[in-house]
């Protein structure tokens, strides 16, 4: 085997670091090269249309499809949390982050690649889920609903998919622990926020990203809803990046 090594001509090696687009592509390939990543992607793409199909079996007519598309866009976004978490915390859990940082020591660059990568995947999967949902609604027995506002609902769903995937990546990077990041995110979004809504509705309105998505998708959104979503993306990404830059790889 050693003779093979000695006799082999040296391979052609890129002298510079990988380009930004190459790193983003690499992060997308990494996410989709594991069973967990593929499962999340498939679930995100098919959950909304399957739910619509099941609901439509009840034969209840719809007044408008904008609401269901927006609501299910939010559900898709919630399913996309793990995509981001796995891209960052998953690397720490499996210690593959060691190889990642050995090959690309600039951790801010790595984090930027992961954020863009999961944002692209989140947007594409949310768009696919929306398209499939619309296709199901077009053939399902839901009466003759209004299709007004569908482009806005789809657009918000796509952005929410990207945003929630990025929030997952930032949270995963900050905690470096997949179960902790997922449990923490779902507890906050699905547990703490509804509880807060009962106690302090204005505060919940200002903090709840899923409510922000719903409001924006149904055309009732405000600047505050947009800021809520942007705030979650910025805060989790910045905290995740700062912690990632400082953490030792042991």
């Amino acid at each position: 085997m050693t003779n093979t090594l000695i006799d082999s001509p040296r391979p052609v090696v890129r002298s510079s670091g990988a380009s930004a687009s190459a790193l983003v592509g690499l992060e997308i390939r990494k996410s989709l090269s594991t069973r967990s990543g593929k499962s999340v992607a498939v679930a995100a793409a098919v959950l909304a249309p399957v739910v619509v199909a099941l609901i439509s079996l009840g034969g209840e007519p719809l007044d408008a499809v904008r609401g269901p598309i927006g609501a299910l866009g939010m559900v898709t976004a919630l399913v996309l949390f793990p995509l981001g978490v796995l891209a960052t915390a998953g690397e720490w859990s499996h210690r593959t982050v060691q190889t990642t940082f050995l090959l690309v020591p600039n951790r801010t660059r790595v984090m930027a690649s992961k954020v863009v990568g999961v944002a692209v995947m989140g947007a594409v999967l949310a768009a696919l889920a929306s398209a499939l949902t619309i296709a199901v609604l077009m053939v399902a027995p839901v009466g003759d609903p209004s299709w007004a506002g569908v482009p806005l609902a789809v657009g918000v769903s796509v952005l929410a998919g990207a945003a929630f995937a990025v929030i997952g990546a930032g949270t995963g990077a900050a905690l470096a622990n997949t179960p902790a990041a997922l449990t923490g995110l779902y507890l906050v979004i699905l547990g703490a926020m509804p509880a807060l809504r009962i106690w302090k509705p204005p505060v919940a309105d200002a903090l709840d990203p899923s409510n922000a998505v719903l409001q924006l998708a149904t055309g009732n959104g405000t600047t505050g809803n947009t800021l809520t979503l942007v705030g979650w993306v910025v805060v989790t990404t910045v905290v995740g990046t700062v912690v990632t830059r400082r953490r030792s790889v042991s």
């Binding site: 069973r35 940082f101 030792s248």
Partner: protein, 291 residues
Amino acid sequence: MITVSGLTKKYGDRTVVDQVSFDLEPGTVTGFLGPNGAGKTTTMRMMTSLVAPTAGSAVIDGKLYAELPNPGAVVGTLLDASAVHPGRTGRTHLRLLASAVGVPASRVDEVLGMVGLADAANRRIGGYSLGMRQRLGIAGALLADPPVLVFDEPANGLDPEGIRWMRDLLRAHAARGGTVLLSSHLLGEVEHTVDRLLVIGSGRIVADGPVAALLGGDGTTVRALDAPSLAADLTAAGLPVESTSDGSLVVAGAEPSQVFAVAAAGGHVLTELRPTERGLEDLFFQLTTAA
């Protein structure tokens, strides 16, 4: 090629690496020895920017590891063979690394063949043995055929054939002008692989030099047909003598010529006369215990 200067790492009040300095030259295999917790792995991680040093630096061709444009093309690193995603296949894992380091995908099959994993390339890494994971890690380090190899305990999990293969691999790499830093607690393995030893104990370098120089003892070992009589003559000549369990005499601080002169004067028949050599294990424990 690699210059490590005053590398220090403290966690609170605890100093795990203390002013470690050494140079690594092309064409050499350097063994990095020390007991568990001595600071070997932390030193290697500081060299590769995985852990930020409290003080000091490590430069490769004058640059910090993190400043190298494409570090994987310069330094092939194996620090933890289990740091791989168990759900990926060996081939997929290496293809991702190949993309990151910038070598053609065809190189993946070449290195899989080199390390003897071609038949297991499409199996999930979760089903690999530790030895197979070590080989996969070595394959990843060799993707760009980099001039520097930094391996932390690469012999772990390898069978005897694998250890011999790895030894030949590292020697061949050095023979081609490569630089190799190899840590191990398998002392016998290191002894036959390296040109030079760095011994670390309690975070400090306690010995640094060629293997022969470090193992060369300060004294003479002698055997005679009448050992007690020779021992008496040596003692009478003012030389300190110790009898060993195998019947030989060790004369500390004496050259073989001095011992021979006493033996010749006394008419002793010698069956062995040589400079005393310390075993690597003796040296290792002597140095690291003192530290």
